[in-house]
């Protein structure tokens, strides 16, 4: 431990004096699923090489998907770490927190941070994940809304609000009247929820302000995960979604309906085909700018002191884009950084893994950015092995996720929202019992499963996943797929024998 600290100190000093002899063998940007899977893989092969992990966050490591469970009180801070305290020491990994890599000189193999600490490397991994999208929304200062609405119904009609907005045109609001990714943190009560820091701030804010009701902008996975957490701690929620239903990217109409009904039955409000037009804030000398409500595109006003912006996350390409000014060539990118099956980018010795990547989608055959935990771990491991000189291939992945809303578990895998007639040769088998909060849907293309939705009962979900992954021909077992007792015993005989009689260790 002491030795590591000394090494780190030495390293920092050397770096500040630009001692080029002090070179990282492996520089990993990102301290989450992909980054640490890569670090582990590298260390399993290369026992001596110097591994540096750099993160712009303040925490040692934590599981990102657990941050909503932390808000819900299901995970304590001391349990949110997915690698134990000793991980860095045990694997001789140097961790640098609170450091923003700004740009990279790919020719000199030099990474510049924003605090004069520069890093040289032999091999570099981008594992820096995604960044939340902040929509531009008009911000209106309105000290009266809160007082007025406190005495009245919480929904104020639009005529009143219009009158107020005129009044504020000469207010001293200093946000240029538009919310964006640079200024949203300056209004207390407006949050994104993609980091542990966000989660801690939200939890603290909820407690300090005794929040009873919240607005969530975005009815996708992050929005619903946020909703899941807030509902657990008794906060009423309003979900604002642009599409005509919740989870529109991963669910179909039937599945969305079950979740929506469950939310509505528990006094949550869902505003589909809607967005936020205006954000109302109060300016207070003591607390600064504070959120007091929002106006939707249907002109309805919701009074709330908490807004979680959850409309999506995109690969964080800020370093790459900044590096374009410095280099003739940067790693090729589209929506995310492109990689080959070895997780190599288009620039030699530069690798990428996790949510920042756009690569092979096993189901569509095209490139896709599939930002989910299990794929980040897998990609990180593959990247690490190849960085350490062991050839290993990433076979591609596909989308899947599990979410539980108010006691209803659900899982969606692959192209789950396709319906018959959407594309040629799409076949759908389903069992829909909305009154029992139950839905099972299998999407089939050319006798192979390409999508699954399970709502209400998710037992044995992984069997479908295995059928998808192994591209098993299910022609002979179609009628069994949505049966209640569906199991391995109904699978095509060859695949079943492989699972049951085979020595059972290969997947």
């Amino acid at each position: 431990m002491e030795e590591l600290k000394k090494q780190k100190k030495d390293f920092e000093n050397n770096n500040l004096t630009n001692n080029k002899n002090n070179k990282a063998d492996y520089l990993i940007i990102g301290n989450s699923a992909a980054g640490l899977a890569a670090a582990s893989a590298i260390r399993s092969i290369d026992k001596k090489g110097k591994i540096l992990v750099i993160t712009n966050e303040e925490y040692k490591n934590y599981s990102k998907p657990l941050i909503t469970y932390f808000i819900a009180g299901k995970v304590k801070l001391e349990n949110i770490y997915f690698k134990n305290e000793q991980f860095y020491e045990d694997n001789n990994i140097l961790l640098f927190n609170n450091i923003n890599i700004k740009k990279i000189d790919f020719k000199k193999k030099l990474a510049f941070s924003d605090n004069n600490l520069n890093f040289t490397y032999k091999k570099l991994l981008f594992a820096n994940g995604g960044t939340p999208i902040i929509p531009e929304i008009q911000v209106v200062e309105d000290n009266k809304l809160i007082n007025k609405s406190e005495n009245e119904d919480k929904i104020i009609n639009s005529i009143n609000s219009k009158a107020k907005i005129k009044k504020e045109d000469n207010s001293k609001f200093n946000f240029n009247n538009t919310l964006n990714s640079n200024n949203y943190k300056e209004i207390s009560g407006i949050f994104t929820l993609t980091s542990l820091t966000d989660a801690i701030n939200i939890k603290k804010y909820i407690e300090e302000n005794k929040i009873k009701e919240a607005v969530i902008l975005g009815g996708g996975l992050i929005g619903l995960k946020s909703a899941e957490a807030l509902l657990e701690i008794g906060i009423k929620i309003n979900i604002i979604e642009l599409a005509d239903r919740l989870l529109s990217a991963t669910f179909d109409k039937n599945a969305s309906l079950i979740i929506e009904n469950q939310l509505k039955n528990n006094s949550s409000k869902i505003y589909t085909k809607n967005t936020i037009n205006k954000i109302f804030i109060k300016n207070d000398k003591l607390i600064g700018n504070k959120l007091i409500g929002v106006e939707l595109s249907n002109k309805e006003i919701i009074k709330s002191n908490l807004l979680i912006i959850a409309i999506g996350v995109i690969p964080d390409l800020r370093i790459i884009k900044e590096s374009e000014k410095l280099n003739k060539k940067v790693p090729n990118y589209g929506k995310g950084i492109y990689t080959d099956k070895y997780m190599k980018t288009s620039i030699v010795d530069i690798y990428a893994a996790g949510d920042v990547v756009e690569n092979y989608d096993l189901l569509s055959g095209n490139n896709a950015n599939i930002a989910i935990w299990p794929l980040a771990v897998k990609q990180g491991e593959v990247a690490g092995m190849n960085m350490a000189g062991i050839s290993m291939e990433y076979n591609g992945g596909y989308f899947m996720n599990s979410i539980e809303i108010l006691g209803i578990p659900s899982i969606s895998i692959g192209f789950a929202n396709l319906n018959k007639g959407d594309k040629d040769k799409i076949e759908v088998i389903y069992d829909f019992k909305p009154e029992k909060n139950f839905y099972k849907k299998i999407v089939i293309s050319e006798e192979k499963i390409i999508g699954v939705i399970l709502v209400g009962n998710i037992d044995r979900a992984g069997i479908y996943n295995g059928l998808i992954k192994n591209k098993v021909n299910i022609a002979e077992i179609k009628e069994n797929l949505v049966k209640e007792n569906f199991g391995i015993i109904q699978l095509p005989i060859d695949y079943r024998k492989h699972l049951v009689i085979g020595d059972g260790i290969e997947v």
Binding site: S63, P65, L66, F82, W373, I411, I413, D459, G462, I489
Partner: protein, 144 residues
């Protein structure tokens, strides 16, 4: 490592493996007490039966365990020395990613107290897994 091997042709679906598994994973570990006083004890071995076909299946303790890769809380771990995949109940948050990932479908939701994933632990306290020990027809075998 020693694993449980399934002999499909010997299984007669007597389900004794399920019963002994439930008893082993009950609090009292006594068959009558467990069935009378403890509710919702899950069997971690699962007998599948259609017509005359049947077999018992439990966690395969995979080399590259998909449940471990999918686990977001670090609860699901494969022990490097024993090879046994276990779920640390204190860390499990019941997100069900493991259920989504397991191609054998042998992880269950345990809702009896705090929501957690329930799976075969190979009865690591015992010399033999109880399902193997109590199978009257040797349809389950425990060997290297």
């Amino acid at each position: 490592m020693k694993k449980i091997y399934i002999k499909e042709e010997y299984c007669i679906a007597c389900r004794l493996c399920e019963i002994y598994c439930q008893v082993e994973h009950s609090k009292s570990k006594k068959i009558l007490k467990a069935f009378k006083k403890e509710k919702d004890i899950l069997s971690r071995v699962l007998v599948e039966e259609v017509g005359y076909n049947s077999f018992a299946i439990q966690c395969r303790h995979c080399e590259d365990a998909p449940c471990v890769e999918a686990c977001i809380s670090g609860a699901m771990q494969k022990n490097k020395n024993t090879g046994i995949v276990t779920c640390d109940e204190s860390k499990c948050v019941g997100c069900w990613m493991c259920i989504m990932a397991c191609p054998y479908g042998v992880i269950k939701r345990d809702l009896s107290e705090k929501k957690i994933a329930s799976k075969c632990d190979l009865c690591s306290d015992e010399e033999y897994p109880v399902c193997v020990k109590n199978c009257p027809n040797e349809a389950l075998q425990f060997k290297e």
